[in-house]
């Protein structure tokens, strides 16, 4: 099948802005359902052969992520202080988006995550809400995502999971030493560890090869296509329909709206900086929880002077960030954690909120050591040791292969003033207003992290670690995040939410926001599966509505 090519003045059925975790689902689902789709992705279209084991390029030269030099954001903790240029959000800027370089943890939210407000009541200083949908509403789409992408795991092994209609399509990945130690210790403590569900192929699946355990997984792209990203698993199927055109290096600056208040298409800069207007019957924005609200706020019109779909002023509010500390330990024998995937065991015993603890929240823990040689030597040695010189060098030589750890994925409450807005005083390389990030943790976020750190230390000590310490870069108030959630919340009430329970903008019938922005709560992080399940659910509904002429 030849690749689809559309002229900008051809009115295609859908534009999808962003080809990431959610955009990849939308592109594949809508094009296989028979619709003409143009995907506008600001980053390049890399292939598996472009993914190399180069820590300098990937970790220190922003090879894959948003380039903070070209796309600066400003940051402030509260609206009362001036915002200054300081990187605060990170996302993968390429076809496949964050699904290309993520750690691959693939967790379902728990049934109670969708109704925490009803179960726990109001939390002072936060806006905790129930979702307009339940776990049962989403379950078929969790299953669809797991089978479509290729997820490895063991159904029924997590006693805290909700009911499932189908097992995982692939068995768990081989356990690593960190996973063995984690499982041993947590079982000894009477807890319930389980094999990590991951978006990596433990066996060949649908024409893609199994993982070769190369170890350059988190932050890197998979060179053999075994990581179950949108890029490897979904985009090829969308392209194969002959109806989906992926346009990389296309940076959307505005969603265009007609006098009738309906969306007519998107204006973007191509690779050469030329402005192009692509027309469409409907637009899906899947640009992530920070760029989606920014684009809406940049899309001002007579019909929407405060920004598109923002008649109630809620666009950009309730930003939620990643939360949780890494605790590491030094062991007697080599673990060689630099081999294979990052996470092989997970624990959800401390996930659920327990009012007896005196704060909202909790977290999931995983076994991991996700540092590469340079990042390890730069920042992960114990803080009570010299950080350079011969003694440091000797220790560095002994530690790298002998360390393992556990990362917490902790709750982060939705707070109204935590937000994405526009900063007209700073422009990006395309002359557009920079993103302004306002974020300060709710006190309960930090209490949850402290609570979990004690559990993490106990687990590593029980596992026999000779020395245990906390990664200093992962504690304290968060000022930088890769999880970008909650800025266009889903809800039944058009006065207090941005999209309805099908991800359709309350204000605009032919505009859909499908990504982390619609999350009402962030559960215990690891949002990728929920973002993709919501996308599958939205795509099915949007396709049916389009066929009935209801868009």
């Amino acid at each position: 099948m030849s690749d689809a090519r559309y002229r900008p003045n051809e009115v295609v059925d859908f534009i999808v802005v962003g080809a990431g975790a959610a955009g990849g689902v939308m592109a594949k689902e809508l094009s296989t359902a028979g619709f003409k789709v143009v995907v506008l992705e600001q980053g390049p279209w890399r292939q598996a052969k472009d993914f190399v084991h180069d820590e300098i390029a990937v970790m220190y030269r922003e090879a894959f992520i948003n380039d903070h030099r070209k796309q600066p954001n400003t940051f402030r903790k509260t609206p009362n202080e001036p915002a200054k240029v300081q990187p605060a959000v990170e996302y993968a800027r390429m076809v496949g988006g964050g699904s290309v370089h993520f750690t691959t943890n693939y967790w379902r939210f728990h049934p109670e995550d969708f109704r925490e407000r009803s179960e726990l009541g109001a939390i002072p200083g936060a806006d905790l809400r129930d979702w307009p949908i339940t776990y049962d509403d989403l379950e078929p789409y969790y299953t669809k995502a797991e089978w479509d992408l290729g997820i490895s795991g063991l159904a029924g092994s997590n006693p805290f999971d909700g009911p499932r209609s189908k097992p995982y399509p692939l068995p768990p990945m081989p356990v690593k030493s960190s996973g063995v130690l984690f499982e041993r210790a947590t079982k000894q403590l009477g807890l319930h560890p389980f094999p990590a569900p991951v978006a990596v192929l433990s066996q060949p699946y649908r024409g893609r090869p199994a993982c070769i355990h190369c170890g350059f997984c988190e932050a890197f792209g998979c060179e053999v296509g075994a990581k179950s990203s949108s890029l490897a698993a979904l985009v090829p199927l969308a392209v194969k329909t002959g109806r989906c055109e992926i346009r990389p290096n296309s940076y959307v600056r505005k969603i265009d709206v007609g006098k009738d208040g309906r969306v007519r298409g998107a204006i973007y800069f191509d690779a050469k900086g030329r402005e192009i207007f692509q027309r469409a019957k409907a637009v899906v924005v899947s640009a992530n929880g920070s760029e989606t609200p920014r684009l809406l706020l940049m899309s001002k019109s007579n019909a929407f002077p405060q920004g598109l779909a923002n008649s109630n002023g809620n666009v950009g509010k309730y930003l939620m960030f990643d939360n949780g500390a890494l605790v590491v330990g030094l062991f007697e024998h080599p673990l060689n954690e630099y081999k294979s995937i990052v996470v092989t065991r997970v624990l959800h015993d401390f996930y659920r909120s327990d009012p007896k603890r005196g704060f909202y929240g909790g977290g999931g823990l995983d076994s991991r050591f996700d540092y590469y040689p340079a990042s390890f030597a730069l920042g992960l040695m114990p803080p009570d040791m010299p950080q350079w010189g011969s003694e440091w060098k000797r220790a560095v030589g002994q530690y790298y292969t002998h360390m393992g750890g556990t990362l917490a994925h902790a709750s982060c409450l939705a707070v109204e003033q935590n937000s994405i807005s526009l900063d007209d005083t700073v422009k990006d390389a395309w002359g557009q207003s920079a993103m302004r990030v306002t974020f300060k943790n709710h006190p309960d976020d930090l209490k949850a992290v402290d609570f979990l750190i004690e559990k993490q230390k106990q687990i590593l000590e029980t596992a026999g670690a000779k020395k245990v310490w906390v990664d200093a870069s992962s504690v304290g108030e968060i000022t930088y995040s890769r999880h970008l959630m909650g800025t266009c919340r889903m809800g039944d009430d058009p006065r207090s939410s941005v999209v309805d329970k099908w991800n359709r903008a309350h204000d605009v019938p032919n505009l859909f926001l499908v990504d982390g922005s619609s999350l009402v709560t962030c559960a215990r992080q690891q949002p990728t599966e929920t973002i993709q399940a919501l996308a599958y659910r939205a795509a099915e509904h949007i396709g049916e509505a389009a066929r009935r002429g209801e868009i």
Partner: protein, 176 residues
């Protein structure tokens, strides 16, 4: 592009880089002048000393730092110039009569660096030294994979389980 290579091919490629880099050592830096290079190298060589195993000097970290300042990290040049000038002033104050950092004894160099280790300049040189020493050899540091050998990082292109002692043990093996 080395992803399609076998491990043997990769080792050969790495050996070629090493040759290229050795050849470089007779050529000139892209940004450093020789005087400044000698001073920065003296600092880098205390951050990662050459002792029983290669350190920053033997691994060619200066080539990495020079490449960074000539390219991606151009905006750090001023920090290097200003930081080095301030460090020279500190040296003159701590060791009257000394001419340069490279000429100090090892113990004096360590004393000087301890006095400035909280500065942005020292932290930047430390970052560059470590990135060069542990980063990919193609950037000029980590010659002969000295940094990776130090920490026991194999850098094979793929592995098979068991990966470490404890998973081997759990699988019933007895890996040393």
């Amino acid at each position: 592009m080395h992803i399609n290579l076998t491990r043997r091919d990769w080792m050969l490629a790495a050996a070629c880089w090493a040759e290229v880099l050795r050849a470089q050592s007779s050529s000139k830096f892209a940004w450093f002048d020789p005087v400044m290079a000698a001073e920065i190298e003296a600092i880098a060589a205390q951050i990662i000393p050459d002792d029983e195993t290669p350190g920053a000097r033997q691994a060619g970290v200066m080539w990495f730092i020079d490449g960074a300042l000539a390219g991606y990290d151009q905006d750090k040049r001023e920090l290097y110039k200003r930081g080095l000038a301030e460090t020279q002033a500190k040296r003159a104050q701590m060791f009257p009569g000394s001419a340069n950092i490279a000429g100090l004894s090892g113990a004096q160099q360590i004393e000087l660096l301890k006095a400035i280790e909280k500065t942005d300049f020292f932290q930047q040189v430390r970052q560059h030294t470590i990135l060069g020493f542990f980063g990919h050899p193609k950037y000029g540091g980590n010659l002969d994979m000295a940094g990776w050998k130090l920490i026991g990082f194999e850098h094979a292109m793929s592995y098979k389980p068991p990966f470490g002692y404890y998973d081997a043990e759990a699988a019933g093996g007895n890996q040393k």
